[in-house]
Amino acid sequence: MEFTHVLFLAFAALAVVAAFNIILQRNPIYCAIGLIVVLCALAGLFLTLHAQFIAAIQIIVYAGAIMVLFVFVIMLLNVREEESKTDRQKILKVIAVPLFLALLAEVFVVIRLVNNSPPAIASAADNTNPAASLGSVESIATAMFTTYVLPFEATSVLILMAIVGAMLLARKNSKDDFERIEQALTLENDETEQAMQADAEKSKEEVAA
């Protein structure tokens, strides 16, 4: 029993409890808080794996930017409780539990089969020279800007596309277009329904006659 084991168990328990919180809560803001706790616990686990840079980025990007966006949208739309459940959901709930157990069992069997966990490379955690250890800012930067420079550039293009797409989608006047489409659709629906009703009445009259 080392100190890392204690840390691992504590963070793992926190992550699992908070993850269950996400899927069992009805109020979206509680779900968001659960996810934030999971992300922070995962950052702690990354630290036990000596991935310092990823741990910091996890908090800054995930917890500090993406989740703030989620919470912001939940507040903006001001959704409190989920509305009435539909029938479909009850069936799904019945399916979900055995599916959960089956997936879990499968994964554990696979892990058990390949359980010859390799010893960690000793040089990965160099305490005397932290800059040289695996997961430091220096080592990640070296890899990112030499071997993996093309994926890095592709990511930046992706983010640019996301910015443009988000602006296009959230623009105010796009509502008008949607409304027009919707009106057209409902009109069509109404017309067909009216026509069907008229047909039904006609057939009734014919039957009566």
Binding site: P28, A32, E82, I95, P118, P119, A166
Partner: protein, 100 residues
């Protein structure tokens, strides 16, 4: 030293919880959060393999997954906002305009 299989097991549990969340929750935002949870479970696997194999590539994958998640969150939340403007609901079962 914590064995590699512990990290893999935790990651599997988190991923499964994410899958179940996608199945039983009906709120779009919460569904989205469950997808993020699954991404994070995979990230944990990548980082632990990176550590145990002594190869930095896994951590770079995590970096790129995070960038993709950020882009996905921006676009996805924009879609959710425009959905809410039009349908006044966040329930995925009621967003069935294409079904007629």
């Amino acid at each position: 030293m914590v064995p590699l299989s512990w990290y893999l097991a935790l990651s599997a549990v988190l991923f499964t919880i994410g899958v179940v969340g996608v199945i039983i929750q009906r709120n779009v935002i919460v569904l989205f959060m469950c997808v993020e949870l699954m991404l994070n479970a995979v990230n944990l696997t990548l980082v632990s393999f990176s550590r145990y194999l002594g190869d930095i590539t896994g951590q770079l994958f995590v970096f790129i997954v995070m960038a993709v998640a950020a882009a996905e969150a921006a676009v996805g939340l924009a879609i959710i906002i425009s959905l809410f403007r039009n349908r006044e609901t966040l329930n995925v079962d009621e967003a069935d305009l294409l079904k007629l």
